[in-house]
Amino acid sequence: MEGQLKKRIFKDRLFKYLVILFAFISILPLLLILYYITRNGIAVINWEFLTELPKPFGEAGGGIFNAIIGTFFLIVLSSVLSIPFGISAGIYLSEKSEGKIAHMVRLCVVVLQGTPSIVIGIVVYMWFVVPFKGFSALSGGIALSVMMLPVIIKTTEETLKLMPYTLKEASLALGVPYYKTILKVILPTGLSGILTGILLSVARITGETAPLLFTAFGNQFMNYNIFKPMDSLPYRIFYYAMSPYPEWHSFAWGASFILVAVVLGFNLIARGIAIKWKVQF
């Protein structure tokens, strides 16, 4: 009896420590990635690195300013393109959640979410790059916005579904028309959830490289024209890392560090909004 009990307590402890061990092992890759990027990247980061353009082969120095601006442009473009559609679709799904079309849309969202980004890149290449005969930031924005859509649609739908029906009733009973109830009561109340979704989707596309290879392509020079090829952080990392020069390799680490910091920043802001603007009912 006594022995039996001891064995069970031992098993209990063993299980607990195993769970902790595996949990730690699962975050180990992330810690290692962060460690390597910081160790190799932090050394090259200085003001010049952030504010200078890439230099041609053989010339020392150079930076990633055009890539930072390019990534910023791409984020804005893809957000402008995807947010209205994403939120509208999310509203539709939460309002008409039982309809046939809603089920179809939901299925499409899942499929879209699972579509490899390089496939999206090729499709956008066929649609927008080939007909207009040239790579452009706009086509890059389109490719990224397609990737943002499923995340925004899903989070909007989930957020709005959590709204209590009594809230909608309160508004309708005051004689507020349905569309105003959605736009002025339901959406503002779900704002924090929707914003969180948008930021998470931005974090998701910030690091995307594959679709950009066929669309925004990349540009060594400064470019503010969205109809011309544009640089981006992931593309710049790819470009530097594939080069044969050790100095450029360290630039790739530096750019990686900046990229990871930006993505992490978006994630943290998203979390902050979710916690701080949490609506109490």
């Binding site: 508004s171 309708l172 005051l174 004689g175 105003k180």
Partner: protein
């Protein structure tokens, strides 16, 4: 019938093929509290939701018969305009969580795009909050969120929000069922006080509450109006055997 605010005539309501209400006839006079009581699921909530046409928002809901607000046929009015004339307070307090107390009171104006001057809004807010006996508690916190208030205060805020629209009639759908006894007493006092200026239709499953606050009582059972008359009379000498059984706690 001349002075009745609300007249319900041969009114039936359905969910799909299910008949929830059967040929209801009631007329409600000015500045009185009429209580609708009956066991759960008897259709009393459905009845008041038919008055401001919230019932039809649920898929499969149908109605037949007539309801008149004063002389106007409710079912030939634009629901949006109708609902601005009829205030409604729900079971669970539901102030708008993103709005301040001030904005919650004038939400009916703000959300409908009715523009008034700042001082006109100030007057409406003060008058409505005083009407709902909430002014003294919140007058220094008008710009805080409505959800910081206690449950009972939130419910009074919802009453203020309904009063701000100057409704012809105020529908109260079990307004105290989510509140503690003290807040309930507060709301009941408020209903008695409000009677001077507003006509009210109160749904309650609490017999004692109907007795305490109402002038007229309608007893609904299984979708039928069993008895309708002055509260005092119904509670002392009920005409129908079922009313008597319900009042004495034999069912319900």
């Amino acid at each position: 019938m001349e002075s009745s605010v609300l007249t319900v005539k041969d009114f039936s309501a359905f969910f799909g093929d299910n008949r929830i209400l059967k040929d209801i006839n009631i007329s409600i006079s000015d500045n009185l509290v009429t209580a609708l009581m009956g066991p759960s699921g008897c259709g009393k909530t459905t009845l008041i939701r038919c008055v401001n046409r919230m019932h039809e928002l649920i898929p499969g809901a149908k109605v037949s018969g007539k309801i008149y607000l004063r002389e106007d046929d409710v079912y030939s009015m634009e629901p949006i305009l109708l609902r601005r004339k009829i205030g409604m307070v729900f079971q669970k307090p539901n102030p708008f969580p993103m709005m301040s107390i001030y904005d919650n009171v004038i939400a009916g104006y703000k959300l409908n795009g009715i523009r008034l001057r700042k001082d006109e809004f100030d007057t409406i807010v003060e008058k409505s909050l005083r009407g709902a006996a909430l002014w003294n508690e919140v007058k220094d916190a008008l710009h805080r969120k409505g959800t910081f208030l206690s449950g009972g205060q939130q419910q009074r805020l919802c009453i203020a929000r309904a009063l701000a629209m100057n409704p012809e009639i105020l529908l109260l759908d079990e307004p105290t069922s989510a509140l503690d006894p003290k807040s309930t007493a507060h709301i009941e006092e408020l209903i008695v006080e409000l009677k001077k200026s507003v006509t009210m239709l109160l749904v309650t499953h609490n017999i004692a509450q109907a007795a305490r606050v109402s002038d007229f009582t309608a007893f609904i059972y299984l979708g039928e109006l069993i008895e309708f008359g002055p509260t005092e009379k119904m509670f002392t000498v009920p005409k129908d055997k079922r009313t008597e059984e319900y009042l004495t706690g034999k069912f319900g």
